[in-house]
């Protein structure tokens, strides 16, 4: 039975629950916007990284380079799109 529950994945799961609990702090405590957003950004991206490495086995074959390049590239462009859009649609007008 034990061999069906590899240590690495169980720890990963525990860690992701922990991250969720930390993120919930912004709901239960009265934090400033900056503090709250910092917590959310950190927990969300760490959580995503946990999924990527522990569960999705992103780095286990020779295609590791292609896969990580692909993910970083799309993440970079997605962030550019989000912040660029905010710049053009909201922040630019203040």
């Amino acid at each position: 039975m034990m061999e069906l529950f590899p240590r690495k994945q169980v720890i990963g799961f525990g860690f992701s629950l922990l991250l969720t609990a930390i993120a919930l702090a912004v709901y239960f405590f009265d934090l400033s916007f900056t503090a709250g957003m910092t917590i959310l950004l950190v927990t969300a991206f760490v959580q995503a990284a946990v999924q990527l490495v522990v569960f999705m086995h992103a780095g286990e074959t020779g295609d590791k380079g292609s896969i990580y390049t692909n993910i970083y590239y799309s993440l970079a462009i997605a962030l550019v799109t989000v912040f660029g859009t905010l710049l053009c649609m909201i922040w630019g007008y203040v």
């Binding site: 799309s74 462009i77 799109t81 710049l87 053009c88 649609m89 007008y93």
Partner: protein, 647 residues
Amino acid sequence: MEFFERFAIPHPSAPIYASMVAIGLTVIAIVAGLTYFKKWGYLWREWLTTVDHKRIGIMYLISALLMLFRGGVDAIMMRSQTAIPENTLLDAQHYNEVFTTHGIVMIIFMAMPFIYALMNFVVPLQIGARDVAFPRLNALSFWLFFMGAMLFNISFVIGGSPDAGWTAYFPLAGNEFSTSVGTNYYALALQIAGLGTLMSGINFIVTILKMRAPGITLMKMPMFTWSALTANVIVVFAFPVLTVALIMMTMDRLFGTHFFATTNGGMDMLWANLFWVWGHPEVYILILPAFGVYSEVISTFARRNLYGYKSMVASMVGISFLSFLVWTHHFFTMGQGALTNSIFSVTTMAIAIPTGIKIFNWLFTMWKGKIEFTVPMLYAVGFIPIFTIGGVTGVMLAMASADYQYHNTMFLVAHFHYTIIPGVVFAMIAGLTYWWPKMFGFMLNERIGKWAFWFIAISFNVTFFPMFFTGLDGQARRMYTYSEATGFGPLNMLSFIGALGLAVGFALIAYNVYYSTRYASRNISADPWDARTLEWATQSPVPAYNFAITPQANSSEAFWDAKKKGHELFKGEVQKIHMPSNSGVPFIMSCIFFIWGFSFVFSLWIPAILATIGIFICMAQRSFERDPGYYISVKEIKETESKLRGA
């Protein structure tokens, strides 16, 4: 009766009725012809169900040429309407429809399939692969594109054409101001074609990353393959943006949401923003493969290896990333303030740097080369100065404060035609002429081809150069007419004359295809241009399995090395070759997508639901299907090879 009224054209005219009749007659003629010559089985077995990248490439090519004709007719109509002041050939509504469909057809349904035609045909051959990574998906990509194009093109005879410009800005594209179903066609047809393109993007990235023949490292890939890789990277990351934007547009128009409305919090500017987040990278999706074609053509006909290979690659990778950082320059005048505009102004100008590097590399490749002015080379050489004018005016437009003067004038129209026509259209014709013998086993006539080049190159400048002046004088784009007092008349007449010249040039190309099909010699070698890359190392026309033995490469010009430096391309014995089997599902699924799109356009919910179910059934079929493919035996390969060599 009420049910059928929705399919009527809101703004009919004699030419539209004439086209209806013409379309009807053409369809009848095609059906009758296929039946009479008993070609239905052939069509189904060899084309509709094919998964061969070469045949799919040729189908893309045929679609692109048809759409070039359609978009060209639109262009001629626009130029004739504006040839003289206060002209009444077209009314305002028709003019709106014509410039809208001209833009969409030329970008999405002409240029895109044209680059995919060349990529499909050439990329697997250049890297010595048997086919693309997912041949079946490739067929689906093509058929989705095709059905999207057909859906878009029936709009002008059923329900009315889109008329809000190819950018379809809100609130103009909302229900309030675009009351016909035209803009629904826009949303659905682009959605379907866009899905196909996204799948192609994934397919080609995987093909290029994983299926290269031994010896072809990333930095030993031919330049066209590199350009295909960078372009497809842009496709994969840009097209989802269009998907989302179109979903939101569809929901605004059909389900009464307020994404881009002017009420209840909606934000019309968001459409413009999302459209260009996709739209600007789209421009580079078109231009990068064109750069790839020029690189191949120039090094072949200058008889030199490409100058600055690494910097060429670096600049294309740079362009593919920068292309996502500049979109705001399409709406500098929307009011987002000096800081935002400055940021995007700088990134825009930055793109001129890698592009400039490429231009100089081509010039250095030709420097001291033994240049042979064949038709493809003429287009490549013609491209450099004309495109540079487009690039320089682009930098002018990139200056945000100056852009307030140029915005939405004919100056802009002249600028982007100066980039797209030499950049993309010239390249596609060059590529077509260059790879034609590989596709069809005979060459296009050089003399007619040169006449066509001179007609096109000169007429192009006659058509578009005057627009720089009228634009600076204040002639706005998309206006169906102007008064005599503006003084725009003579220059617009000049543009019209140029447009006629362009028509003659393209007609000459069509005539060349006809003439060469009839008279050109079939007795040509597999390498008629004395070229450098691997696609020329196999037979013409290319057998289904591409290469009897997988080639071994040692550089980006393995075939040249084989010819001149004694490099051995084909080592080892012929072995049986695994091939993917044909499938009718991509075609059927795309037909269902067509019905799906059509039902959404007219809000016919029951067929829409049925079509959705049909699409999912096709996907389920694919999931459960076990398709082992088939093998071509050694005997068969040897027979094919000796037959092709003998011919």
